[in-house]
Amino acid sequence: MEVGLTQILFLSTALFFIGMYGFLTRRNLITMLMAVELMLNAVNINFIAFNKYLWGGKLDGVFFTIFIIAIAAAEAAVAIAIVINIYRNFGSIDAEDADSLKL
């Protein structure tokens, strides 16, 4: 069976919801960050797949993907800095403990 667009979309959807599931259920901030990375990569796969199958010969989707990877790296850097600060303030990196957004 040849791998086509459908199969790739199934893969990316699965990856996205695995990331979503991880984001909602894990309490560890680092794990949640990894889950977010999964979701971003699901999006990247979508871009590449659509670029290849629908707009062959063009590079727009690839550029988007490269940008997303760069932004994801920056985002990870910021997020990890936040996580370190949370650890300093609360003595844990559990999302449940950091609920002072509620006054």
Partner: protein, 643 residues
């Protein structure tokens, strides 16, 4: 006759009020009385000068006294043509009132030097007296109906201040409140009346207003008669409401309840405000608008007549039973003002028909003298005895010869015994009434008898009856200081001679001299009634006996009713407390508390409750937010798919 001279008459007391009111407590603690008295002396001198000038030099043109507007300043302009002015109006009645007010006020100022000596708030007292005198003079001189209203209210305020002068006494506070509220309530009618009259006459100015509302061919009079409510023309409503204001100030029924209580004030104040000047403001107001009453709405004048006659009789009956000497005098004042009112009521306009008008003003004039004298005499007695009750007095004629003698003169004057002043004015009133309304004439005659009776009941109870027993309170001082005796003597002399003033030459309804002859036949009846009243009082009260008690038992019902002032106060309390408070006050309080306040509370509660509900959603947990974000996204997707 320069405007400055006349303007100074009210301005001098105003200056003394400002000086004493602002700096009196610090700088003029002792000398406040002298300053007030001196300013009043200036005013009185200027008034006499003005009166001389007006009556004998410049007031008369072709035998008719003119209304002179010596000063007119536009004060508040709303739109061109509609403005409130300030002016000074001179005509026979205002000049006569000028003299009466400044003179009585001067006497009271001098008297108070002795009476109020040593009072803690001596200079404050004098500043209030000056304020009152200023307002009263302003009222008298007002040239338009709105100006008179402003001074009218100022008079009410200064009366309030003076009644409540002893503010540490709860009864004085209650009395001052009562006086203010009752007269203020009546003034509401006055204000509405002013608005009605001014709306139809299209002016506030007395001269033009009277001219327009009495001229049959004027469009303003037609509009005033054409409009109306409940079958009564707007003009009649207007003058009746204005009269209601006058009735409030003059303590006519049914607004009389404040006057007896107002006796809580210092006695000289009662003499000035509640006997001679302020309480006749209502009479003055009716006299001021008299042409409108007499020519355009005789129906309203009839109301004035019946209210006056009823008040005169009613107050005289009550006065026979009271034991507080100042209250007897208060009811007597009310009765005499009733006299003046019905004298106006029976009068017509112009020429010989205007006899009642002249008689009313004459009685106002003579009454001011002898009633001020009576109050000042009563003040001297109270000063000596330290009590207001007749029961604590008796046999004072040897201890207080000057007071005794002047008081006797005043009693004879008010009882209408010739040749004292009251006799002449009463005779004129009765003559006018006799020719106009026989029923009122009967009432007036009977009242004259009652007046003589209760005045001599008072006189005998104070000065005869029993030997004076000192209660050891009066510290052994003499009768009264010189400053108190002097006004008594001056007023006593005036009470004897003012009857001989050819009053009708000067004051009449249309300004032309009225040549009223003295009718001997008309004089017989009131004198007989007066003498009979005096005789009965002599028999009952000359010496101690059980006769008064027996009489009061024999007339139990009437006596009890009169003693309790015919339960009018109770009726007012019943109407206000039980009916107004329960049927209007409480329901509106309930609506305010539950409906109005409830709505406000409900909106607050709603905001609070709903924010409490919503605040649950802000958990502070990032994953919660993400979850609901997801739910929202899925919801949107579903919505897009379905739609």
């Amino acid at each position: 006759m320069s405007a400055i001279n006349i303007a100074l008459i009210p301005l001098l007391p105003l200056a003394s009020f400002l000086l004493l009111g602002l700096f009196g407590k610090k700088h003029f603690k002792e000398s406040g009385g002298i300053i007030g008295t001196l300013s009043l002396m200036g005013s009185a001198g200027l008034s006499l000068f003005t009166a001389y000038n007006y009556f004998f030099v410049s007031g008369k043109v072709n035998g008719v006294y003119q209304q002179l507007e010596v000063l007119k300043i536009q004060w508040l302009e709303f739109v061109p043509g509609v403005s409130i002015d300030m002016g000074l109006l001179l005509d026979p009645i205002s000049v006569m009132m000028l003299v009466v007010v400044t003179f009585i006020s001067l006497m009271v100022h001098v008297y108070s030097l002795g009476y109020m000596k040593g009072e803690e708030r001596f200079s404050v007292y004098y500043s209030f007296l000056s304020l009152f005198t200023f307002s009263m003079l302003g009222l008298v001189l007002s040239s338009n109906i709105f100006q008179i209203y402003m001074f009218w209210e100022l008079v009410g305020v200064s009366s309030f201040l003076l009644i409540g002068f002893y503010f540490e006494k709860p009864s004085a506070v209650a009395a001052s409140k009562k006086a203010f509220i009752v007269t203020r309530f009546a003034d509401l009618g006055f204000l509405i009346g002013i608005l009605i009259l001014a709306f139809h006459a299209e002016t506030l100015d007395f001269k033009i207003l009277i001219q327009r509302l009495t001229d049959v061919s004027s469009p303003q009079l037609h509009s005033a008669i054409a409009g109306g409510l409940f079958g009564i023309s707007a003009l009649t409503w207007g003058v009746l409401l204005v009269f209601a204001g006058g009735a409030g100030k003059s303590a006519m029924m049914p607004f009389h309840i404040w006057l007896p209580d107002a006796m809580e004030g210092p006695t000289p104040v009662s003499a000035l405000i509640h006997a001679a000047t302020m309480v006749v403001a209502g009479v003055y107001l009716v006299a001021r608008l008299f042409p409108v009453f007499a020519i355009s709405c005789p129906g309203a004048l009839e109301v004035v007549m019946y209210v006056g006659a009823a008040s005169a009789l009613f107050a005289a009956v009550i006065a026979c039973t009271q034991t507080d000497i100042k209250r007897v005098l208060a009811y007597s004042t009310m009765s005499q003002i009733g006299y003046m009112m019905f004298a106006l009521g029976v009068s017509g306009y112009g020429g010989e028909n205007g006899l009642g008008f002249t008689a009313s003003m004459f009685h106002l004039f003579t009454h001011a003298m002898f009633k001020a004298l009576l109050f000042l005499g009563a003040g001297a007695v109270i000063h000596y005895v330290h009590s207001n009750e007749m029961g604590d007095m008796g046999g004072l004629r040897r201890k207080m010869p000057v007071t005794h003698f002047t008081f006797l003169i005043a009693c004879l004057a008010i009882a209408g015994v010739p040749p004292f002043s009251g006799f002449f004015s009463k005779e004129e009133i009765l003559t006018a009434t006799f020719h106009s309304n026989k029923l009122v004439y009967g009432v007036a005659l009977f009242t004259a008898g009652l007046t003589a009776f209760y005045m001599f009941r008072l006189y005998f109870s104070i000065f005869w009856k029993r030997d004076f027993v000192s209660h050891g309170q009066h510290g052994g001082h003499g009768e009264a200081p010189f400053t108190m005796k002097l006004p008594l003597v001056i007023l006593g002399l005036l009470a004897m001679v003012t009857g001989f003033v050819p009053f009708s030459e000067f004051v009449s309804s249309d300004g032309a001299a009225l040549h009223s002859e003295f009718h001997l036949t008309m004089a017989i009846a009131p004198v007989v009634f007066g003498l009979v009243g005096i005789l009965i009082a002599f028999v009952m009260y000359k010496s101690e006996s059980d006769l008064p008690a027996r009489v009061s038992v024999a007339m139990r019902g009437l006596y009890k009713g009169a003693y309790h002032k015919f339960y009018i106060d109770e009726l007012y309390l019943f109407v206000t407390k039980k009916i107004v408070f329960n049927l209007v006050g409480r329901p509106s309080a309930w609506i305010d508390k539950n409906v109005v306040n409830g709505l406000v509370d409900a909106s607050g509660m709603f905001a609070q409750d709903s924010s409490e509900e919503l605040s649950v959603w802000q958990s502070g947990k990032v994953q919660n937010y993400a979850f609901w974000f997801l739910v929202g996204a899925i919801g949107l997707v579903i919505a897009f798919v379905i739609l």
